[in-house]
């Protein structure tokens, strides 16, 4: 692999990561978010793979499949399990095709084309599979994402100046993913959407670690992945408890829990 191909591939992976992240904050339908998260995980797994092939590092090649399985398959599956079966599309989200005009549907709140038999948006909100009216509107969210991306590129300039390689040039995308993940965490109401935001944030952190340190040790990566798995499992359990106790998973309702 030439250095140019390497740089192109790495930039492509980083760009895909960032694009998926923007998609996550854009879409309010949980199914779309989960699909985007899976693609995001695949893009993330591509980074150690490309890096491992180019630098010829075995442990990166070993990490890549772990990341792929965990972040592109296991975690999205677990998140989709957090919504009760009645609110899920018949074939599962990961199986169904992407909607033809997602933007129009998200704005209009119309049911998905292939799953016309499913209940309406209000029932989706109640079940936790769809965001209710967001804290800030979608367009503002997208504008903020753009601003945060610019900020990430501005913040990374000293790092790129320090060591101008393909890795560091991709780092701003990872930092932007972190920022946008935080934005999603801050503005989302449903517990499930919170988990999606959190996983986005974590994907960004892992990507930044791969890019800036040129390879996290296997033990560290495995430990972090295990932590993540546990977090998602615990949140899944808590979400079920919330639904049983309050009839919904809107964390805005948890205001009274202050001391």
């Amino acid at each position: 692999m030439t250095s140019e191909t390497y740089a192109n591939l790495l930039h492509f992976a980083g760009g895909l990561l960032l694009l998926c992240t923007v998609g996550v904050v854009w879409r309010h339908q949980l199914g779309a978010s989960v699909r985007l998260l899976a693609v995001q995980g695949a893009a993330l797994a591509a980074i150690p793979l490309i890096s491992g092939i180019y630098h010829e590092k075995a442990h990166l090649l070993a990490i890549a499949p772990v990341v792929l399985v965990l972040r592109a398959a296991v975690l999205p599956y677990l998140i989709s399990r957090m919504v009760p079966p009645t609110a899920r599309p018949p074939g599962g989200w990961t199986a169904s095709a992407a909607p033809a005009t997602p933007a129009a549907q998200a704005d209009a709140g119309a049911p998905d084309g292939p799953t016309a038999t499913r209940p309406g948006p209000a029932a989706d909100v109640l079940a936790g599979s769809r965001e209710p009216v967001p804290l800030i509107s979608t367009s503002v969210t997208l504008l903020l994402s753009a601003a945060l991306t610019v900020l990430a590129y501005a913040l990374c300039r000293p790092i790129i100046a320090l060591d101008p390689t393909a890795d560091t040039r991709t780092a701003p995308a990872a930092l932007a993913v972190i920022f946008i993940g935080l934005l999603a965490l801050t503005t989302r109401r449903q517990a499930v959407s919170q988990v999606v935001g959190f996983l986005t944030l974590d994907n960004g952190i892992v990507a930044l670690a791969f890019l800036l340190t040129s390879g996290v040790p296997l033990v560290v990566e495995l430990g972090a992945s295990l932590d993540l798995l546990l977090v998602v499992l615990v949140v899944a359990a808590l979400t079920n408890r919330m639904r049983a106790a309050f009839g919904g998973t809107d964390i805005g309702e948890l205001q009274e829990l202050k001391e």
Binding site: L135, L151, A154, L155, P158, F179, L182, L183, L185, T186, T187, R189, I251, G252, L254, Q255, E256, L257, K258
Partner: protein
Amino acid sequence: MSAAHLPALLGGLTLAACLGAAAVPRRALPGVAGAGTALVGAAGVACGVAALDRGIEPIELAGALPLAGLRLAADATSGLFLVLIGAVAVAAGIYTAGYAGRGHGSARTPLVLLPVFVAAMLAVPLAASVTTFLFFWELMALASLALVLAEQRRPAVREAGLAYAVMTHLGFVAVLVGLVVFAAAAGAEEFGGLGEAAAGLSPATRTAVFLCTVIGFGSKAGLVPLHAWLPRAHPEAPSQVSALMSAGMVNLGIYGVVRVDLDLLGPGPRWWGLALLAAGAATAVYGVLQAAVATDLKRLLAYSTSENMGLVCVALGVAALLRATAGNDEPTAAGAAAVVALTAAFVHLFGHAAFKCLGFLAAGSVLAATGRRDLDALGGLARRMPTTTTAFGIAALGACGLPLGCGFIGEWLLVQSLVHALPAGGTLVALVLPLTVGVVALTAGLGVAAMVKAFGVGFLARPRSEEAERAVEGGPAMAAGMGLAALACGVLAVAPAVLSPALGRVLPELPAVTGQGAGAVPAPDLDTVLRLPGTSGAMSPGLLAVGVAVGIVVALAATHWRARRRPAPLRDAPLWACGGAAPTARMQYTATSFAEPLQRVFDGILRPEVEFAVTPYPQSSYLVERASYRSRLRDVVESVFYRPVLRAISAAAAVVRRAHQGSIHAYLAYGALGLVVALLVAM
């Protein structure tokens, strides 16, 4: 064994006492803990004597604390305080064996911590670097806090513990800031280096260090307005702990002022002395006033502690003020008076430690026998508890500051320094010193009233409650502890010459007060006849005591001789007694009624809440059926100084609370913003 081994002995004994108290069966616990505490105290006295003799060379324990390590050393000044605290601990330790054995404060944790507390107190004067000092200072505070909370089931104890915890840590923060600023500006951590660099510091730094440390140490010594914890925490602790705190720990506040502000920071401007003087004078008057109207025996003693620390602080302030006035060119009257004032401070520290230790031990004995601290419910103990009554009498005599009491010498020296410095200074001195004489005189007068009340109402006359009627003496260990303290009281009252060699070594170590070069003044001669350098004042407590004793013997002999010459009475008949032949306990003065006139005179300062209601018979408004009198005293300083501060803190907390809405989104947003801001700042 060389002097360097003594601190090691101290540490070893502490460890052994702790482990012993933690391991022995319950039955042996009070004895082991008491003996351990007394042994640690004795080791402290040995350290102190060695330090007074030749000083203890610096000992470095690099690995004992991370980064800084420990550094121990002692000069004569440290030695003086080591002897003082060690001696109090010996008496309190012996007393503990009896007191805890009777089921008071006999839980295992407080008894295990008792030797730790004593050792921490002893280690504070041994500390020779800022880190070491702060470490042991905090250890002492934490150990004493745990001991105050020994009877944590009572709400009053928990409240006192909270007040103490807050105040002691605010004081610690002040000391910490002061010493850290000092160390950073001086570029040294050991006390020796600090002392050398102090002269080169800027006046602003010196002032900041002075103010911070005086506030911090002042709160430990119970100076107004930072005294609020003292009358709460000292009475609520078990009595041997009260004695250790009131007679031992408060002295370390004074040690801090002497060590940091007078010794290390060196001679300061005149207003330093004035500040100490003003704080001390306010404390002395306020403390004794509260003591005079208090009805709780241990609270009275605690306020009296505040008062005496105020007097010591006055003496230190006078010494610093006069030294700043005197200059170092030639021996002057002001310089001589400064030395006398400093001597007064040290002598009074010893006197106070002796009588206050004895006072609290005797109060603990009363508490153990009756379960009551309220003077209005005591009385009649003189016949039931003669040893305790004698002990408290000696303590009360000392606290009065009258001749033959051990508080007298210190106050006499202080007044002498004030009187003889008068012609020396300028306008300021001429204005301040007479006022100070007035303060000391008022303090002594009110002190007599307070102690007469405590002794007369609490121990004499008839018992006012069943508990007081059934009181019995506490046993040999408690009597031995009290006896030791009483012996110290007697020696200090009659022969203050025992302190003379120690003071002769301590005073030259404080050139910031005693002067340098030609202006240096020798220590006063505390021999059989007290002679003061540069002044005409002289007094002999020993001869006075002999005179009084001879007078008593002569008077007794004379009455005996007269009685033999008088013919025997012919018959016994009841005297006409104005209808009061069978007085009841209700006819006696109570503590409240005894203090009522004083409370009236100082109404403006004390601001008591008095309810007085008279219920007449329905037949005639002139016939009184019932009269009720209720008076409640609050600490005025608390309501004036503390309420506004607490209110301001609450208001500030309310502002913060507005950002604290309980919304998870808001918290997440704070976190995200924090990250972005941190990254921006880092760039």
